[in-house]
C-alpha cells in the first residue's frame, strides 16, 4: 500500500494536538490536511480528495454531531474516526446511524490509531487516483 497516495483530513481545534497528529501521520507517509474548525473541514472536503476524516468531537464552531450528518450527505462512504470525550461513546445512539469507523479516546494511543488507519485505508483505493 502506497501511503503517500492517501490523503487524511484532520479536524482538531487544539493546536498542540493538531501538530502531534500531523507529525505522526506525516511520518507514516500519508498526506495530511489539517482543519481547525468545522467550516474548514467542509471546505477541504469540497476542494480536495480526502480518503479519511479524523475529527475531534467538538469544534469551536460546530459539534461533530452536526458536522457528520452534513459530511455524510455528500460523502456517504468516507471513513470517519471520532475522538470521543469519554469511554462508552461507541454506544451512543445518536452517532450509530452514521457508520463511524472508529472511536479513539483521549489521550490518544498513537500507535493504535495508526494501525487502525492503515487497516481502513489498505482496503480502499485512494480517491486521488
Amino acid at each position: 500500500m502506497e501511503k503517500k497516495n492517501y490523503t487524511i483530513l484532520l479536524a482538531e481545534d487544539e493546536e498542540a494536538s493538531r501538530f502531534l497528529y500531523y507529525e505522526e501521520l506525516s511520518e507514516e507517509g500519508y498526506r495530511v490536511l489539517t482543519a481547525a474548525n468545522g467550516l474548514q473541514v467542509l471546505g477541504f472536503l469540497e476542494d480536495d480528495k480526502v480518503d479519511l476524516l479524523l475529527t475531534d468531537i467538538k469544534m469551536p464552531d460546530m459539534h461533530a454531531m452536526e458536522m457528520i450528518p452534513i459530511v455524510r450527505q455528500d460523502f456517504p462512504d468516507l471513513p470517519i474516526l471520532v475522538a470521543s470525550a469519554f469511554k462508552g461513546m461507541e454506544d451512543d445512539f445518536t452517532l450509530k446511524g452514521f457508520n463511524i469507523s472508529g472511536f479513539y479516546t483521549k489521550p490518544v494511543d498513537i500507535s493504535l490509531l495508526k494501525k487502525r488507519i492503515e487497516e481502513i485505508l489498505s482496503s480502499r483505493v485512494p480517491v486521488a487516483a
Binding site: E14, A16, S17, F19, L20, Y21, E23, E24, A85, F86, K106, P107, V108, I110
Partner: protein, 597 residues
C-alpha cells in the same frame, strides 16, 4: 354486692316514750300469730267466758232458753272458727274489723243478758272487746266499740231495771272507765300504728336507699373500670412513645416523665417523680429552663439544635419543644416538654451536606478533568515522540519520565471523571461466582507473583444477583487489588459469598447517608461478597476517612478507588462495609439487593 343494711328489727324500735310499757308489736307483727291469730284467740276467750258464765252459773235472773240468743251464740262460734280460715287480707278491709267488734260487743251484751248478771263484773268483758279493738289501730273504731258497749249495756240496764241511769256510783263509774280504757288502748294502738307505719316507711326508705346505693355503687364500679382502662390506655400511649414527654405542673412539680424520656436522658422515671423543675438533675438543665420559661410566660418554645448530656455521659442531639398545658377553660395547668432524639437525623443532615459539597466539588473536578484531557493529549504524544527519537540516554530518560508522569495524570483525570459521573446503573441478574472468578483470573499473574493464596468460600445455593456487571467488576477489582497491596509479603485472600435478610450490620461508627437510608427504609434479601485479607489492616483513625475521596495510604494512588466503589454500590442500593484489625487484616463486605429494585 349490696350495702349492708342496718336491719331495723322491730324489737329495736324504741319503747313508746310517754307510756312506760310496750305494746306487744312483736306479737302483732309475728308472722305465725298475726292479728288474725290474736283476734281469734281473744274472741274464743270471750266466748268461753260467756259460755261458762251463762251455763255454769246458776242465777235467779238468768234468762231461760231463748232461741234467738242461742242461735246468735252458735253464729258467734261459727265466726270464731271461720276466722281461722280467713284470708288475712280481709282484716284490712275498711269495715271488716269494726264489724267484727260490733258482733263481739253484741255477743257480750247478749251473754250478759242471758246470764242475768247485769250488775256484775261481767261488764269487764266489754273491756276486752275494747282492748282487742285496738288491733284495728284506729281510735275511732275503738271509741265506737266503747260507745256501743255503753249504749248496749245501758240498754240492758234499762231492760232489767226499767231505768236508764242507776244512781249507784258503782254503776256510773263503769262508763267513764270504759271510755278511758278505750282512749288508752286507742291511743296506744294509734301510736303503735304510727310506729309501725314509721317503721314500714323506714324499712321502705331503707330498702330504697339500699337499692339506690347499690345502683350507684355499680355505676361507680363501672365508671372506675372505665377510668382505669382509660388511664391504662393513656399510660400505654405515653410509655410506647419514642418521644420523651416531661410534664411539669404549675407549682413546678414534675408530674410526668415517660419511658421515652428515660430512654433519651437515662434518668429513671421513679426518681423524677419526686422532683420539681428546680431540682431536676443538672444534665437536664436546658429542659428545666425551657419548662420554667413556659410556665412563666405561658408560651411555647422550640429548640432545634440542642445537645444534652445523658447519664451515660454522652452528648445526645435532641429537639426540645415546650408548650403550655391548658385545661379546657384555658387555665394554665403546667408545661409539657417533648424531646426527640435526632441523632439519626443529624447524621443524615451531615451526610447530605457532605455529599452536596462533594457533588459540587465533583462537578468542578469533572469540568477541570475535561479541560485537562486536551493538553494531556499533546504532552503525552510529544513526550513519547521525544523518547523514541532522542538518542542521548539521559535525554531519552527525561522524555520517558515525562511520558510516565503524563500517564499517571491521565489515570487521575479518569478517576475524577469516573467519580463525578452520574449514577446510571443498568442491572442484569448475574452469577456472582463466575464474575469473581473471571476477575481473579484477570489478576492471576499479580496474585501468583505476590505469593497470595486464594480461598473461595462460595455459598452452595447462591442466587443470581442483579448488578451492573462492568461496574461491579470494577469494585471487585479494586477491593482485590487493595487486599493484594495490603499483603506485600504475601498472605491469604479469602472470598466468600452468602445471602442475608436485611442489611449488613455496621461495625464502625461512620455511617454514610445512603447506607442510613437503606437501613431505615429497606429490608430485603441481600447477596453478600466479602473480600478478606491477612494484611496490615486499617487503623482506627483511617477507618473514618476510608471512603472519602482523595484519601489514600498508598504512595501511588488517586484515593478515589474506595469512594468510587462505594458510589457504585450505593447506586445499586447496597452497602459497602469494612472491618479491620491492624496487624491482622481487613474484611470488606459488599451487599447488593438480590432483586432489581
Amino acid at each position: 354486692m349490696s350495702i349492708a343494711t342496718a336491719d331495723l328489727h322491730p324489737r329495736e324500735i324504741a319503747p313508746v316514750p310517754f307510756f312506760r310499757f310496750r305494746f306487744p308489736h312483736h306479737l302483732v307483727s309475728h308472722p305465725a300469730l298475726g292479728r288474725k291469730g290474736i283476734l281469734s284467740v281473744f274472741r274464743a276467750l270471750i266466748f268461753l267466758i260467756i259460755l261458762v258464765l251463762v251455763f255454769f252459773n246458776k242465777n235467779e235472773n238468768q234468762v231461760v232458753w231463748n232461741l234467738k240468743i242461742d242461735l246468735f251464740f252458735g253464729f258467734y262460734l261459727l265466726s270464731i272458727i271461720g276466722m281461722f280460715f280467713l284470708n288475712p287480707k280481709w282484716l284490712d278491709k275498711k269495715y271488716f274489723l269494726p264489724g267484727i267488734f260490733m258482733v263481739d260487743t253484741v255477743f257480750i251484751t247478749l251473754g250478759i243478758y242471758r246470764s242475768g248478771m247485769i250488775d256484775s263484773d261481767l261488764f269487764l268483758v266489754f273491756f276486752t272487746t275494747v282492748f282487742i279493738s285496738a288491733i284495728s289501730q284506729d281510735v275511732k273504731s275503738v271509741f265506737s266499740v266503747a260507745l256501743v258497749s255503753c249504749i248496749l249495756y245501758g240498754f240492758l240496764e234499762y231492760k232489767s231495771t226499767g231505768e236508764f241511769f242507776n244512781t249507784d256510783t258503782n254503776f256510773l263509774v263503769r262508763f267513764p272507765f270504759l271510755f278511758v280504757a278505750a282512749a288508752l288502748s286507742g291511743f296506744m294502738a294509734m301510736d303503735t300504728k304510727k310506729h309501725k307505719d314509721a317503721h314500714a316507711r323506714l324499712m321502705n326508705m331503707n330498702q330504697f336507699l339500699a337499692e339506690r346505693a347499690d345502683a350507684s355503687t355499680q355505676k361507680l364500679i363501672v365508671m372506675n373500670q372505665k377510668l382505669k382502662s382509660l388511664l391504662e390506655y393513656h399510660h400505654c400511649v405515653l410509655s410506647s412513645l419514642k418521644t420523651g414527654v416531661i410534664v411539669a405542673q404549675k407549682d413546678g412539680h414534675i408530674r410526668t416523665f415517660n419511658a421515652g424520656a428515660r430512654q433519651i436522658t437515662g434518668c429513671v422515671e421513679a426518681e423524677m417523680a419526686e422532683r420539681t423543675v428546680d431540682t431536676l438533675p443538672e444534665e437536664l438543665a436546658p429542659i428545666a429552663a425551657a419548662l420554667k420559661r413556659t410556665l412563666e410566660t405561658e408560651k411555647s418554645f422550640v429548640q432545634d439544635h440542642l445537645d444534652i448530656k445523658t447519664t451515660r455521659s454522652e452528648m445526645l442531639p435532641i429537639t426540645l419543644e415546650t408548650s403550655a398545658l391548658r385545661a379546657g377553660n384555658g387555665e394554665l395547668l403546667g408545661a409539657i416538654a417533648t424531646l426527640k432524639d435526632v441523632t439519626l437525623l443529624r447524621q443524615m443532615e451531615t451526610q447530605l451536606v457532605r455529599s452536596e459539597r462533594f457533588s459540587a466539588l465533583g462537578e468542578m473536578a469533572a469540568g477541570v478533568a475535561h479541560e485537562i484531557k486536551n493538553p494531556l493529549n499533546a504532552i503525552m504524544g510529544f513526550s513519547k515522540r521525544l523518547s523514541s527519537k532522542l538518542q542521548e540516554p539521559n535525554l531519552k530518560k527525561y522524555a520517558e519520565i515525562i511520558a510516565e508522569e503524563v500517564v499517571r495524570m491521565d489515570a487521575i483525570v479518569n478517576d475524577v471523571l469516573e467519580y463525578s459521573r452520574p449514577d446510571r446503573v443498568s442491572k442484569v441478574p448475574t452469577d456472582i461466582h463466575a464474575m469473581v472468578d473471571e476477575t481473579i483470573q484477570f489478576l492471576n499473574e499479580k496474585l501468583e507473583k505476590g505469593n497470595i493464596r486464594i480461598i473461595k468460600n462460595y455459598s452452595s445455593d447462591m442466587p443470581l444477583v442483579a448488578m451492573d456487571l462492568p461496574k461491579i467488576r470494577q469494585v471487585v477489582l479494586n477491593l482485590v487489588l487493595n487486599a493484594v497491596q495490603a499483603m506485600p509479603e504475601g498472605g491469604t485472600l479469602t472470598l466468600s459469598t452468602g445471602v442475608v435478610d436485611g442489611l449488613v450490620v455496621q461495625d464502625h461508627k461512620q455511617v454514610e447517608a445512603d447506607q442510613l437510608f437503606q437501613q431505615l427504609f429497606l429490608q430485603q434479601k441481600m447477596g453478600i461478597l466479602t473480600v478478606q485479607d491477612t494484611g496490615c489492616g486499617i487503623s482506627k483513625e483511617n477507618m473514618s476517612k476510608l471512603f472519602h475521596p482523595f484519601f489514600t495510604t498508598k504512595i501511588t494512588g488517586t484515593g478515589l478507588g474506595l469512594s468510587i466503589c462505594h458510589k457504585i454500590i450505593a447506586s445499586h442500593g447496597g452497602t459497602l462495609d469494612v472491618q479491620s484489625e491492624p496487624g491482622k487484616g481487613s474484611r470488606f463486605s459488599v451487599s447488593l439487593p438480590l432483586e432489581d429494585t
